[in-house]
C-alpha cells in the first residue's frame, strides 16, 4: 500500500472516531458552556485530530503486520518508541489492539469491543471510581457533578466526547510510560516497594505556625508556604474541613493564611482535582497540587494523554503526593467514629493513623482507637484495587510511616521536586535528615503489602468478568 494511501486511511478513520466527532459536533454546546474559548476549542480539536491520526497510523502498521514488537512498530511507523507505547496503551484499552503473551502486538476487530469508552459511568457503577475529581475538571460542558460521594453525569448536557474517560485513572493507567518519562537520571534509586526516588528524608517544619496546624511534620504545608512566599505559585489545591462534622470540601488557596487553614489530614474522599477547572476560571495559572495517590495519578495521566487540555487549565508547578493506605466516604467515617468509637464527629479535634491503628483525638483531650484492619471494609471500594501507598508518581511524596512522631518521611522523586525541597530547606522552612534504614525498610514492607494485596483483588475482579482497570 502506498504511503499516501496509508495516511489517508488513517486520517479518514481519525476524523470519524467518536471523540473527534463528538467534539466537532458539540462545538456550540462547548462554546456555550464557556470553559474553553473559541481559540482553545480550535486548538484542542486540532490536537485530538492529530493525536487520533497518529494513533491510527500506528494501528495501520499493526494491522498490516501479523504480530509485531513495539520496536518493529516504531521503526515502520517512524515514530519514537515512547509515542508508540502511548498509542498502543490506548488501542489496547479501546480493544483495537492486543498484546499477546509473547509480547507481540496484533490488531483486533472492532466488532469484538466490549468496554464502553465514551463515559466514566461504568467506572462509577462498577465501584472503581476513586473520587479524584479529574473527570469534573476535564468535561468541556460541565456535565459532571459530584453527588453522594460520586460523579454523576447530567445526560442532557453530556455530548459524549469521552474526555472524562481519557482523564480517569481507573479506565486504563499507563504506569510504565509515566515512570519512564519521569525518571531517567543515574542517581535515582529504583526499588520494588516504593518505586524510584532520588533522596529519602525524615523532615520537620521549622515554622511554629505550621507546627500548630499540621498533621505530622508539616512538610506539605511548609513547601507550599515557601512557594507562595517566593511568588512561585498563584494557588494550591488541597482539602479543607467544611463543617463541624468533618464534611470536606476541595480547597483552592491563594496565600499562606488560607494555606494554614487547610493543613491536617481529613480521612475523607474529596474530588479536589476538579479544582483545576477553577484555577482557569479564576484566572490563575501556576498551581501546586496536593493529593492522595489516585489524584496524582490523574494529573500524571493527563500530562501524557491530554496535555493540551491540561495546559489550558493551568501550569502544574509541583505535585506533592501524600501516602495513603485507604480513604473513606463521609458516611463511612461517621460509622467508624460514631458507630464504632462512640465519639460524636463534632467532638473530634484530629484524626490519625499510626502503627496499624486509627486514632481519634477529641476536643476534650481524650483518645480512642480502633485497629485499621477492622475498618478496612468500610474504605472506599476503589481503594481495594489501588496498588500505590507511597504516591509513586508525585514530585515529592510525604507521609508518616518510617519517621518518629511529629516528623515526616519524604521521598524526593523528580528533579523538579528536588530543587523545590532543597531551596525550602536552605531558606529555613524545614529541617531534614536522611531517612534511617529501619524507616525505609518498614515503608518498603507496607508498600509491597498494599501492592500485592490490591493487585490480587484487581485480578480477582477480572476473573469474575467485571471490568478491571487496565494497568499498562
Amino acid at each position: 500500500m502506498s504511503e499516501l494511501r496509508r495516511r489517508v486511511d488513517a486520517i479518514t478513520e481519525a476524523a470519524d472516531s467518536f471523540r473527534v466527532r463528538a467534539f466537532f459536533t458539540g462545538e456550540k454546546e462547548i462554546l456555550e458552556a464557556g470553559k474553553f474559548s473559541k481559540e482553545e476549542y480550535e486548538r484542542y480539536l486540532d490536537y485530538l485530530l492529530e493525536d487520533e491520526f497518529r494513533r491510527r497510523l500506528v494501528l495501520g502498521v499493526i494491522r498490516e503486520g501479523n504480530g509485531l514488537t513495539i520496536d518493529e512498530i516504531a521503526h515502520r511507523a517512524e515514530f519514537s518508541r515512547l509515542e508508540v507505547i502511548r498509542h498502543i496503551n490506548a488501542l489496547r484499552y479501546e480493544e483495537l489492539a492486543e498484546r499477546k503473551s509473547d509480547g507481540l502486538v496484533v490488531a483486533k476487530r472492532e466488532e469484538q469491543r466490549k468496554v464502553p469508552y465514551e463515559k466514566i459511568k461504568f467506572i462509577v457503577e462498577g465501584g472503581l471510581c476513586t473520587g479524584c475529581g479529574g473527570c469534573i475538571a476535564a468535561c468541556p460542558v460541565y456535565a459532571i457533578n459530584f453527588i453522594n460521594e460520586k460523579p454523576v453525569i447530567d445526560e442532557d448536557k453530556c455530548i459524549g466526547c469521552g474526555i472524562c474517560n481519557v482523564h480517569c485513572p481507573r479506565t486504563f493507567f499507563p504506569i510504565s510510560l509515566i515512570r519512564e518519562s519521569l525518571k531517567g537520571s543515574p542517581v535515582d534509586v529504583e526499588t520494588e516497594g516504593v518505586s524510584f526516588y532520588r533522596q529519602a528524608f525524615t523532615a520537620q517544619t521549622a515554622k511554629e505556625k505550621v507546627k500548630q496546624v499540621c498533621q505530622d511534620g508539616g512538610i506539605v504545608t511548609s513547601i507550599l508556604a515557601y512557594l507562595f512566599d517566593r511568588g512561585m505559585i498563584d494557588c494550591a489545591i488541597g482539602v479543607r474541613k467544611a463543617d463541624e462534622e468533618w464534611r470536606t470540601q476541595a480547597a483552592l488557596v491563594t496565600n499562606v493564611d488560607e494555606l494554614l487553614g487547610i493543613a491536617g489530614t481529613k480521612y475523607t474522599v474529596t474530588p479536589s482535582i476538579s479544582l483545576l477547572e477553577e484555577v482557569k476560571r479564576r484566572g490563575f495559572r501556576r498551581v501546586a497540587v496536593v493529593g492522595v495517590p489516585c489524584q496524582i495519578h490523574t494529573v500524571r495521566k493527563a500530562e501524557v494523554y491530554s496535555s493540551e487540555l491540561l495546559s489550558f487549565l493551568g501550569e502544574i508547578v509541583v505535585l506533592i503526593g501524600i501516602f495513603c493506605m485507604e480513604n473513606f466516604g463521609h458516611t463511612a467515617l461517621r460509622e467508624i467514629v460514631e458507630g464504632r468509637l462512640g465519639v460524636k464527629l463534632e467532638d473530634v479535634a484530629k484524626f490519625n493513623i499510626e502503627k496499624g491503628k486509627f486514632y481519634v483525638h477529641t476536643m476534650s483531650g481524650e483518645e480512642r482507637s480502633i485497629p485499621t484492619k477492622e475498618i478496612s471494609v468500610l474504605a472506599r471500594h476503589a481503594c481495594h484495587y489501588c496498588p500505590d501507598l507511597t504516591n509513586e508518581l508525585a514530585d515529592i511524596s510525604v507521609g508518616s510511616i518510617g519517621s518518629s512522631k511529629g516528623w515526616s518521611t519524604v521521598l524526593i522523586r523528580t528533579k523538579r521536586g528536588e530543587k523545590i525541597f532543597e531551596e525550602a530547606m536552605k531558606e529555613g522552612y524545614l529541617i531534614a535528615n536522611s531517612l534511617p534504614d529501619a524507616g525505609m525498610e518498614l515503608l518498603q514492607k507496607l508498600a509491597k503489602g498494599k501492592r500485592k494485596r490490591n493487585l490480587e483483588a484487581l485480578s480477582e475482579r477480572a476473573k469474575e468478568g467485571k471490568y478491571a482497570t487496565l494497568i499498562v
Partner: protein
C-alpha cells in the same frame, strides 16, 4: 462529474466528503442554500463547518484543503451556480489531479 442529491446540505457529513476523495475524486463541491435560508434550521451552517473541517483534514495529509469547497447558491441563481463551478475547476487545476486515483 457525479452529482449526489441531498435534501439538505446538513446531511453531508465529513465522512462522505472524505470517502469521495479517498475513492479518487479530484474535488467535492458542496452546494447549499444561503445562510439563514435553510428549511431545516441551520443545515447549511453545519455543512460549512464540516467543509472547513474536511479541508483541515485534507491539509493534514497533504492532499490540499482546496479540493473541497462550499458554495451558497439558491435554486434560481443559474449564473451564480455557473460561477461556482468555474471557481471549483480553477481551484482543482491549481492543485492537480487526486494522487490517490490510478
Amino acid at each position: 462529474m457525479i452529482v449526489v442529491r441531498v435534501k439538505c446540505t446538513g446531511r453531508v457529513d465529513v465522512k462522505h466528503i472524505l470517502e469521495a476523495i479517498r475513492q479518487g475524486a479530484d474535488g467535492v463541491m458542496v452546494v447549499g442554500c444561503h445562510p439563514g435560508e435553510c428549511d431545516f434550521g441551520d443545515g447549511n451552517m453545519k455543512a460549512r463547518q464540516r467543509v472547513e473541517f474536511a479541508k483541515k483534514v485534507l491539509d493534514k495529509v497533504g492532499l490540499g484543503g482546496d479540493r473541497v469547497n462550499m458554495y451558497n447558491v439558491s435554486a434560481a441563481e443559474i449564473g451564480r451556480f455557473r460561477d461556482a463551478i468555474m471557481d471549483m475547476i480553477e481551484k482543482l487545476k491549481k492543485i492537480g489531479p487526486n494522487p490517490l486515483r490510478g
